[in-house]
Structures are given as C-alpha cells and as structure tokens.
Symmetry: C2
Subunit: 437 residues, 2 copies
C-alpha cells in the first residue's frame, strides 16, 4: 500500500520523533508465509523493513524510516488458549489486553502488564521485553515466552521452543529474540506461558511530603517483602492525573506510593500491615488500605493514566531509567537536581518496586531554548542512571531515541558483540535499521 | 598441570562416556583475568578448551577431549550476597548448595534445585540452564540470572546485565549465554536474583498401582493448580531407593507421586485437598499428607536419591526428555513399550509437574548385546519425545551424548542458525568442541 494519506498515519509512534521518515510502502500481512514473501522481496532488493505493532513504542522502535517498508502486524490476530498446557499461542498483532482477556476466559492469567496494555501489541511486548506494574513480583515478558515463530532476514521461518515448560536443547535462541527490538528477525507467532489467576489483591496507598521520603519507603518495603505492585507518582503527576480524572487524589502530596499484596489469607494481612508500617515509619502523612477490587483498580488506573495526563502539560521526553534498588533515592534526588539545573519540569513516575523509573520531561517543542534544555536533561538522566550502575531502559527498549547512550552503559566490547550477532543474522542490515546500532 | 594421575581424574563426568579423551593439561584459574590468560593462550595456539565445573554433567558436557585443555572452575569460589538488592554474585565453581546456604543466611532463597544440588556447580547450572524439583512453580536457572561476566573465545571479558531487575538495554545477551553449554564463552561470574524464603510446604504422597494411573493423576493436578513440586517415581526406582535408604516406601506400588504446596494459609489447605482428591480420583491406593518439615524432606530426599539408587542396579543411560503435559501418559506408556521391545530395564523418574522425565536405562556395559539394546532404547526414547512435540533435554543439556538427536528436534534451519552464532562468536571453534554441533 502506497497511498500517501495512509502512509502518513504510519510515520510516527508514541515517541513522536520529529525526524521520522515516511514509509516506502505499508504491508499488512496476515500469516507467517506472507511475512516471508515480504522479507524475501526486501532481501532481494536490499530494502529495509521497519516492523510495527500498534505503534505505541516510547523509544522510537517503530518510527518509519525513509526508503523502508513498514510491516505492520496489525492484521495478525489469531489466538488460541490451551488450558491443558496453560499456554496461549498468539500472533503478534493482538493487544496485550486481548491475550489477557482470552486467558481469563479459560480461568488463566497472562501477567505482564505495561501501562499501555489496552493499546500495545503482544509482538511489541516481545520485541522490547516489556514490563509493567506486576513484574516486581511476576517478572517480565521473557519470563513468559516459551516459544516463537520468527522470520529471519533471509526469509526463512524458524520455530523455536514450544509448549514444554523446560527445554535445554540447543542454544537458548527463543530468549535471544525476546527483547531484540526487531533487529534479528520478525516474530510472527509467540507461545506464552499462563499462570493460574492472581489472588485478589489488597492495595495500600501512602501519601508523602517529599519524593525522597517516598523513595525511602520503597526500600523499607522491598528490603522485607516482594509486593505484587509498588508504584510511585510525584506531585506533578498526581495533579495531572487529578486534572484529567477528578478521582480525589491528594493534590498537596509530594509523592504517592501505591502498593499491592496478593498473598492469600494471613500472609496477605501480614504483608499489608508491613507495608502500612513501612509507609508510616518513613513519614507518610496518610495511609489508606483497601481490599475492595474497584477501589484498588481506581488507584492502579490513576498510575496508568500518569503518562497521558502529564502529556497534557506539554510534549514529553520519556525516560525509562532503572537502577539497583538501593540507588533509587539517589536517582530521584538526582533527577530533581537535573530539572532545577535545566529549568524544566520533570515529573517522575516509577515502577518503584523494581527500581524502574519514568522521568517525564515536559517541554514546548516550539520553544527552541526549552527544547534544548529538555534534550540536555534527557541525556543527563541517562548518564546519571549509568553512573548509579543502572540501565537507560528498563522496559521500553533503546529504540532510535536512546541509541546514543547504549554504548556508555554496556561498553565497547558488548557493542562489538551486538554488531557481530547482528551481522551474522542480518548481514545486509535490512531489519529495523537505526535501532540500537 | 599435566600430571597423568591428576589428568585422569578429569577425563569423565557423570555421563561416564567410554569415549572420553584425556586433557592436554588441567588449569584451575581463580579469577576472570586468569581465565582470560588461559583463553588467550588457547586462542593463539588453536588449542580447544573444555570448561568443567564439578563434573556432574549427565550429558557429557564436561567430558575431556584429547588435545584440549580442561579448564576447571573449582577454585573460583567467591560469593557475596546483597540483601538490599536481593542478589548474589557468585563465581562459577561454587556448589548450588553453597549459594542456597549463603542466601538462607541472609533470609533469602535461591530456588533452582537440581537433584544434584549438593554436588553440582552454579557455573554448570548456568551452562545447562539447569532445572530441578521446584521449577514447576519457580522456574529454571535462566529466570534467576540477572547478570554475567563472560570471557569470549578471543579472551575479552564482558559484563552483561547487573543487579537491576529490569533491563531492556541492547540485545538480551545475558540470556543468550545461559544454557549455551559453554559454546559461546566461559562464565566467570554470575549475578543471581534471590527471593524471600519459601513458605513451609505441605507434602502429599500418593501410591498408585500403575505408572499410567500416576501420570493421569499428574494431569488432574496440573490442570487445576500449580504445585510447588510434583515428582514421579516408578516401581524400579522406589525399590532401588528403599534398598539404599530403608525408609519404608511402599515396595508394592507401581508408581509414587510426591507433591508439595507452599501456598500459605487456607490457600495451601485447599491445594492439599485438591491434590489428595486428584490422587484418589485417579486410583491412588494410599494417600499420605504431612506438614512436617522433616517428613517432607524425607520424601524429597527419596526422589533425589533415585538416580544414584538405580545406578546400583547397573550402568545407566540417562534420559532427560520432556513433553507438553498432556502427552505425559503417552510418553510414559511409550517408554514401557520401548523397554519391553529392547528387553532392558528402564526406570522412569520425573519432574512430572512440568513434563520433564528421566528414563534411566539400566545395562551391563560388559554385555555387548545388552549395551547395544540399551543404546537403541536411548535413541528411541528421544525419537518418541520429539514425535510427541517435546524435547530431548529439559534440564541436562545436549552435551556430547545427545548431539545426534538435536537436529531431529529443532530442524535444519535452527541448526544453521546455531552454527552461524557459534561461528560468529568462536570462529576457530575452540570452546567446548563436540558439544551440540
């Protein structure tokens, strides 16, 4: 498809990179065989391919490239759930929420839950090894991928892994493709491990005078238990969410923590009490607990709404930096200093329980000076995370936006190895050019 | 070290491959830098290297090769446990049990538990992506590896990942090395994720008239809950263990299932009742439940002792085949048929809850005809697992013994990709030659 109006709709993803190109053509295959046909044509003509799910990448992973075919997986939507093996076999274009819903219909649970789960594709989740809110206890996408079908850069289709829960036969190639951001092949089918349903969770919400107090409370919890969720919102995001949703959040709070325990029975009661005590000990002004599912979901939704809510204040540069947990207060303090230095608003929200934070740098793209300061802050925050022994991306992927910082994090030798593997699997470099390397 | 007596002790691993070679030399480095020195010398002289932990490989992964240096990690034994990040940083020569014990001292838990956990090295666990008894609920080694230090075939040392729980920066190289059986690099340090301690478990033991009834009971449990353990022993192994340990197992049983639930409070009670009911419904003659830790450990020990106990009956060819759970009865029935056809004793023990079985083919190596029949059965069982959509190895690795069957399982294209990656990372093929490829 080469209709300019339609191609225009496939230029950007949620990173809104102003330097996005325009697809040479858009293809929307429905089967692995059709993907193979596209890849073979591209290989024969040395045409690059950008693979795109629903275009929710926050790091420019699916931004169009001039001269490249955009391969959208949006029509690859087959899904079967097998109760006997507790697995789902999904094509990549399905939404995460659709996989969750289909699993739930069979009394099962697919845990990974990016905040965008209602609009992001499972293929994109696999490409970035996506996380979410519950992964502090339940792990990330790779922990649920048992098997893949992948089309390589030369058009061959491979089956890797399968429904068996344990498999040590051969190199761990399934794992190599999860999180490889479309550089090594195009995932056309994924076999996912499902769990028994999550037990009902109790939610504890604490409001704190400062982000520093809240970040200390995170450590007070995580040094003792592994909660099922432990989310962080700062004052800017609290007020932005309240502006959008009017749900009665405490606008005067410096920070809010939303924790959950899903341990059943007395163990859950003990966890909730421990969280309440940790919050109070770290100076929480108010601590509210509920076992009501509707109330719990309301607070989770508040956290999930934070990115779109803060986006109403201006354009965002979206960070995804993570640090080992003891460095969390240092990271949060450091981000505040970077905001002050650069005179920009940076709202911090975080999957605090696993040290993964999303500083959101607000700026007006028509203000050249502010945009320059925002961009400087964007780099400084990644530099800080690297200094603290952390990562420039916990769950969104490097994409095109963070490519300049990857070498600083992983070093020359790891970049060499990355290039070696890329060259071995995609010698002509046609798959997702501009990402990572 | 080139003393022939000492070299002789490093020829074999627990696979007892009669075609084992003799090491050219034995090196026992203590640091990453020393490993680099060895690898650089080997690279310069085109000398192959066999990396060896404690030599407990059941698939010949650390069997010596004529003309190759054997690099033993036995002296690489540093270990630190960090409570704040719930991680352990271990050198590869430590025993799995030592990592567990150090974690426990800090009130933490390292779950993966191969039956050989008291004698196998953590480096070997990483090389094979080792499993164990609790992985039906808690996953396998790769699920706990957050970071690695690896020496590549050219002598460079890389740091991959780290203590952060989530990291999507770059290709998932950490995961590529876990389970790669020493083909791509030598792991010199591993950062492991630890969990809060496991809750006390209740154990349910069921004895069944037939292996078929027991395998149906496995499905009756796993289709409803995810137990913390679900182990299977057949009549041969029950009697062999009873001969060795005299613990009062029911010698007349056709099969025994040992299940555990570690769900706390009422949820655990419900799980135990469900397991008891499932066992009874599938015809268990006797069902015994206990929440006593000592009694529970006794039954777990019985299962762990099965391989050494059956080994007293003769030499063993050790299988590690796995199938999707619904195929478990077909696999177990098929193994019985293969035993009858080949007139050999095959004892089946299994991590039944995840479909991973260990048929043990008993034979007398001095009986040429019986050995030939045992070898034929060894191949037929792997063929059967492949036919049933399963794997030739769930947790032991392909090593040297199962190399001939890997292509049948994964296909030509996956073998090509495996060779491509091996050639890209180790072009001279000096690392662990004869394994996988």
């Amino acid at each position: 498809m080469t209709d300019p109006d339609i191609l225009g709709a496939y230029r950007f993803d949620r990173a809104n990179d102003p330097s996005a190109g325009t697809p040479l053509a858009l293809v929307r295959p429905t089967t692995t065989a059709e993907v193979q046909t596209v890849v073979r044509w591209c290989a024969a003509t040395a045409t690059p391919i950008v693979t795109r799910g629903t275009g929710t990448s926050l790091s420019g992973g699916s931004t169009a490239v001039d001269g490249a075919v955009t391969l959208s997986t949006e029509k690859m939507r087959n899904l079967t759930v097998d109760r006997a093996t507790r697995t789902a076999v999904a094509q990549p274009g399905l939404l995460n929420a659709e996989v969750k819903a289909a699993a739930a219909e069979q009394g099962l649970w697919y845990p990974p839950d990016p905040s965008s789960f209602e609009i992001c594709s499972i293929g994109g989740n696999v490409a970035t090894n996506a996380g979410g809110l519950c992964c502090v206890k339940y792990g990330v996408t790779t922990d649920y991928v048992l098997g893949l079908q992948v089309v390589l850069a030369d058009g061959r289709a491979l089956r890797l892994g399968g429904k068996q829960l344990k498999d040590s036969a051969g190199l761990p190639l399934t794992k190599l493709f999860v999180g490889s951001e479309g550089l090594l092949g195009i995932v056309t089918e994924v076999t996912l491990r499902l769990l028994p349903p999550q037990a009902p969770a109790c939610t504890v919400v604490g409001s704190f005078a400062s982000v520093h107090a809240a970040s200390r409370a995170v450590l007070a919890v995580t040094s003792q238990i592994r909660p099922a969720m432990l989310e962080f919102m700062d004052s800017v995001s609290i007020n932005a969410v309240e502006d959008m949703l009017s749900m009665g959040l405490d606008r005067s709070a410096g920070a809010l923590l939303v924790a959950q325990s899903d341990a059943p029975g007395p163990a859950g009661v003990a966890e909730v009490e421990l969280i309440e005590r940790a919050f109070a000990d770290c100076g929480a002004g108010e601590v509210f607990s509920t076992s009501d599912a509707v109330e719990s979901e309301m607070f989770t939704q508040a956290r999930r709404a934070a990115i779109p809510a803060v986006e109403r204040l201006g354009s965002l540069l979206l960070e995804d930096v993570g640090v080992p947990l003891p460095e969390l207060p240092a990271l949060i303090d450091g981000v505040a200093a970077i905001a002050a230095d650069n005179k920009v608003t940076i709202s911090v929200i975080a999957h605090a329980g696993d040290g993964n934070t999303h500083p959101l740098i607000v700026h007006d793209p028509s203000d050249v000076d502010e945009t320059a300061r925002a961009n400087r802050a964007f780099g400084q925050i990644m530099d800080l995370a690297i200094e603290l022994g952390g990562t420039i991306t916990g769950e969104h992927g490097v994409g095109r936006l963070k490519r300049g910082w990857l070498r600083d994090q992983v070093g020359d030798d790891v970049m060499d190895l990355t290039a070696t593997i890329k060259a071995a699997l995609d010698p002509a470099g046609i798959l997702n050019p501009g990402v990572l390397l």
